[in-house]
Amino acid sequence: MRSLKLDNVRKSFGKVEVIKGVDLEVEEGEFVVFVGPSGCGKSTLLRIIAGLEDLTDGHVLMGDEIVDNVPPSKRGLAMVFQSYALYPHLTVRGNMRLGLKQAKMPSAEIAERVKRAAEMLHLEELLERRPAELSGGQRQRVAIGRAIVREPKLFLFDEPLSNLDAALRVNTRLEIANLHRVLGSTIIYVTHDQVEAMTLADKIVVLNEGRIEQVGRPIDLYRTPANRFVAGFIGSPKMNFVEGAAAERFNANSIGVRPEHMTITDVDAIWAGNVNHIERLGSDTFIYVNTADSGLLTIRVPGEIAFEVGDHVGLFAEDQMVYRFDKSGAAIRAG
């Protein structure tokens, strides 16, 4: 069943159009991730869905109902903010139950829900503390708890992990994935982080300058990006793009090869150049090669490899691993 639909949504701040006509459908129980460069309108779109920002044009539908004029608290959703946004004057318990109290829920049920959420997030010990007395990770869990107790049809997360350190980020990421499995509710999740997007999402929405570039399963976006922007945005390290003579050989305006699809070779080299820099991560090695006619290319090799800066190497990529793009940047499909 459909959970949410955006119908040609537009938003302007003054004369600046920030969201330029977005159409999107989200199925019930789906985990949707919005990614895109900074300032492309991810948060704005999320706030529009939440009802915190008015639309300039278009409609937001939840189920089959147009909710453009329904206030945020009546939309059956909960939001987790990047800055946690806990109420500083209330305890953890107070933070979690405020929304339910406001909705005039009987206090026995409130207590029950708070208890369940606290158990799920290991917050039982902290219920009487104030936000100022919690660590960053604990605050984030309280913010998630505050969202859970509402038992919303739709969860909105705006970069919830970006203030956490790396280890905590992985933990909380797993917790969120678990949460989605247990609760089965629809989730819309904004992030900058490739790994979060690829691992959590059922469906990734790539945004750029207020427009949707592509929507699809993570692996589909990786395999068949619709255009050069998506190709460059999904995947890490970034795809190598080459223009000019090399691209013309493939009948394209520009071509792209992922670093993991390039190999170092002595025969049949398509490109050749000197090693400019090497990054050894243990599990992988990234080699940056300065080529004469195609600029700096990145190669990703699994494991360790015995090259030094300055070595002369040849590079090769299978034809079917080369992405081709036309003048407008759109991908040219096999043909």
Binding site: S73, M79, A85, L86, Y87
Partner: protein, 280 residues
Amino acid sequence: MASKATSSLPRSVAAHAILISYTVLALFPVILIIFNSFKTRKAIFRSPLSLPDAESFSLIGYRTVLEQGDFFGYFQNSLIVTVVTLLLVLLFGAMAAFALSEYRFRGNTLMGLYLALGIMIPIRLGTVAILQIMVGAGLVNTLTALILVYTAQGLPLAIFILSEFMRSVSDDLKNAGRIDGLSEYTIFFRLVLPLVRPAMATVAVFTMIPIWNDLWFPLILAPAEETKTVTLGAQVFIGQFVTNWNAVLSALSLAILPILVLYVIFSRQLIRGITSGAVK
């Protein structure tokens, strides 16, 4: 806090020396008034800078003040005017500041500029018009007249300072409240106001002192005996030919007390606000 630069001895000595000498300079006239209020008239004129001793000590000034005129009444009037004005300025100033900083509406910027104009144009320029309005409204010789004028006088600065501070309150926090179903009033009173408390205290101090000290509007709008304020009341001792300096100094010394109490209350709020400001 304890970086090398700020904790080195010569620096902190220099800083303290500057601060102490400024404090002495600022307090000197006040102390002088208080000392002299305890001296006989002769001693005030003969050696204005000396401390009161056994010979020159006298309470005549205070006795005159308490016996002549209704000084408690004057105090009461001053307090009522100051406190009520303060409440109105803080309430309406904060509300206007919230609206200006939080809501996007047509004419928002223009409204902000219009209100800021009040900081630059002294309200006394409009005295004649204000008097006419008050006469028309039958408010002459009431405390209401003073409260209205002072509220108008205090609002521009209050709105200016508070809207700057309210802009800095996290949007996420307000939005979290909206999603939890809090009304805009609850968001304003329960979430935003506590976070801008230090700014409120600053505004309170800046608003209350000029009002307490004002002579102009009480003289023009409410000179009747029963609506006199302390500053105006003290004027009875300043005559055209003889001035009762003992009484003037005593009245002024007494007038410092209530405002000092208010100041201590607000400055404590200020410090508490600064130290407990943990948003994230």
